[in-house]
């Protein structure tokens, strides 16, 4: 579906420059594609397996994409040379606005390599002999990976035996530190090998040997680097008002409540919510505890002055929204380590829990109607 969208969009943009006022070839193309698709439906599509695209077809699509990209840049009045994928997405969203909820159903224009699944080129030469020595196993890349891995295992073992013979073997020689990376998931490995696989744990055996750092580069090829979550935090800038008092503001949300907080570093502990005193607005102790939670966690209870505005939702969700806003505003006064501690305490994550909808055929979200035998 997405591929046909791209084809349509690409072909429209491709034809645009050649024919400014000619509509019929474009519509003819559309009609032809529509006719072709209904003809195809008569065949048994399920038996054919996933759709195969030839290399020349994909190449043609790539050319069309490049040309279409340049036309799009011209249309938007931007530089065709430096038109990035984000610009493409922005322009398509502008030219073809869509209110569809399913993001994958919206018009998209991406490089054909991302859209068409990776195919394997023809595996055998003109004489019919396959290139790869493991072709007849059926899963040549997978078994080749196993073969290589076993070869490296033997290599490491031989190295260890040599050291043992010389008496230099030490079992706590540095194993690799794999802290900041994770293994490819099965899906990622399938994508990189262009084959379907089942689970294996030969890698673990390689890792269990103390001298596995010999094959470090090979192992790291199959691991994906993880980045520390703390780098995703957005810290609000610290501002100064006329009297030289530092302040920062932030927003928070929880369910349907939206709040915004201004945190001033004056030294009193006054809290104002929507113009009223916080004891007046939040009569329940639990809500006031939630407001104080981030300040108490960092031990800066009496230092800041809070000016909060909140709207929407109920009592508890307003308190939650304010708590998130206060934590975010507090980040600009704290060091990175303290910010990381706040994140690990769960103060900086917006709570995704919302009210579950009622389903048809049931009385509520979960409650079913009384079951009657007859």
């Amino acid at each position: 579906m997405a591929s046909s969208c791209v084809r349509v969009v690409g072909s429209i943009l491709g034809k645009c420059a050649n024919c400014s006022a000619i509509i019929s070839p474009v519509t003819l193309q559309l009609f032809r594609q529509v006719c072709m698709s209904s003809a195809l439906h008569r065949k048994n599509l399920a038996a054919a397996g996933p759709e195969q695209f030839t290399a020349e077809f994909v190449k043609k699509q790539i050319d069309e994409f490049e040309v279409g990209k340049r036309h799009l840049a011209n249309m938007m009045g931007e530089d065709p040379e430096n038109f990035s994928q984000e610009d493409i997405d922005r322009s398509i969203a502008y030219l073809f606005p869509s209110g569809l909820f399913e993001k994958k159903a919206r018009p998209l224009m991406k490089h054909p390599d991302e859209i068409f699944p990776k195919q394997r080129a023809v595996q055998w030469g003109a004489d019919g002999r396959p290139f790869h020595f493991l072709f007849y196993t059926g899963k040549q890349s997978y078994y080749f990976l196993m073969h290589e891995l076993y070869g490296k295992l033997l290599n490491v073992e031989k190295h260890q035996d040599r050291l043992r013979a010389k008496g230099l073997f030490s079992s706590d020689a540095n194993s690799m530190s794999l802290g900041m990376s994770r293994w490819f998931t099965k899906e990622e490995l399938e994508v990189s090998l262009v084959e379907t696989i089942s689970t294996h744990d030969l890698m673990e055996r390689l890792l269990s040997m103390p001298y596995c750092s010999l094959e470090q580069q090979f192992i790291l090829q199959y691991r994906r680097q993880l980045e520390a979550q703390s780098m995703h935090q957005i810290v609000q800038p610290l501002q100064q008002d006329e009297k030289g008092v530092a302040y920062s503001s932030a927003e928070g949300l929880r369910k349907t409540s939206r709040s915004s907080v201004v945190l001033r570093d004056c030294g009193s502990g006054r809290v104002t919510v929507n113009g009223q005193d916080c004891h007046h607005y939040f009569s329940v102790l639990q809500d006031r505890e939630q407001l104080m939670f981030p300040l108490q966690f960092m031990g800066v209870l009496g230092r800041f002055d809070l000016k909060c505005t909140v709207s929407g939702g109920g009592r508890s969700s307003q308190a939650g929204a304010l708590r998130l806003a206060i934590s975010r505003a507090l980040l600009s006064f704290l060091s990175e380590k303290e910010g990381e501690a706040m994140r690990q305490a769960g103060l900086l994550t917006p709570d995704p829990r919302v009210r579950e909808r009622k389903k048809p055929g049931q009385e509520g979200a979960r409650r079913k109607y009384t079951w009657k035998k007859r």
């Binding site: 802290g179 900041m180 993880l226 980045e227 520390a228 979550q229 703390s230 329940v284 102790l285 639990q286 505890e289 939630q290 104080m292 939670f293 108490q296 966690f297 508890s316 308190a319 939650g320 998130l324 990381e340 501690a341 994140r343 690990q344 305490a345 769960g346 103060l347 994550t349 917006p350 709570d351 995704p352 829990r353 919302v354 579950e356 909808r357 389903k359 048809p360 055929g361 049931q362 979960r366 079913k368």
Partner: protein, 236 residues
């Protein structure tokens, strides 16, 4: 969640067949399973690197890499916040009236403190040290005394169902103790006694290892002992 809705819609449209619910996964969360639980207590972040065992260090590193869930609204890092007490309040709560449940709990603790302090002042010098005045301590100890050690499960074998003694997890034991305490105080009381009054009486009795909840625990243990012969019917 979308697939569940679609399944519902698809099955409702089949009008000729009587509609039955399909068994889809019931417990799911708005969070991706990748998210970790938050750690709210301040002391956990003040421990230096040297004090940690290798598992703790690995966990610490894992926490820097993974996203963390938001802390719930009943939880704070304050010293007055007790997870056991919060759980008890939630179990006492009915129709979502958290305010009322919390009031009852606070009144219970106050009542316990009052009674213990009265007893403390009336007691002679030697007995004064034995009287526990901290209501949190009394609550924890009473709950400990109410926790059953083994539970019973109904297992069907050869057409007949037997009550087989099984080991219980910690969470299950705590849950049973709290549930018994709450049901006992709701049902077996005089119409005019208030909940907090009855609850404080039961807690103090449980602290002394007397009272109806302790009796219930002992009865369960006796049943388990009586059905000891069937213990081998358990296959897990």
């Amino acid at each position: 969640m979308d697939t569940h809705v679609l399944k519902m819609a698809a099955s409702v449209s089949g009008l000729l067949k009587p509609w039955t619910s399909r068994v889809v996964l019931v417990r799911w969360s708005r969070y991706n399973p990748y998210y970790l639980e938050p750690e709210v207590r301040k002391e956990a972040y003040n421990r230096p690197e040297t004090e940690l065992s290798p598992e703790d260090q690995e966990e610490r590193q894992l926490k820097t890499l993974r996203p963390i869930k938001a802390a719930t609204s009943g939880v704070t890092s304050s010293v007055f916040d007790d997870p056991v007490i919060s759980k008890f309040i939630n179990m006492m709560m009915r129709q979502g009236k958290k305010v009322l449940a919390r009031e009852i709990m606070l009144q219970t603790l106050e009542n316990i403190k009052k009674k213990q302090v009265e007893r403390y002042h009336k007691a002679t010098g030697g007995q004064k040290e034995e009287i526990e005045c901290n209501p949190y301590e009394i609550f924890h100890q009473a709950l400990e005394n109410c926790k059953p050690v083994v539970g019973l499960a109904s297992i069907q074998k050869g057409g007949k169902s037997y009550q087989v003694p099984i080991p219980l997890t910690d969470n299950r034991r705590r849950f049973l103790a709290m549930k018994w305490m709450i049901t006992e105080c709701k049902e077996n009381k005089h119409r005019r006694t208030l909940m907090y009054e009855k609850l404080s009486q039961e807690l103090l009795a449980a602290f002394q290892k007397e009272g109806n909840v302790i009796k219930k625990k002992h009865e369960l243990h006796k049943m388990a002992e009586a059905n000891r012969a069937y213990a081998h019917y358990r296959w897990w």
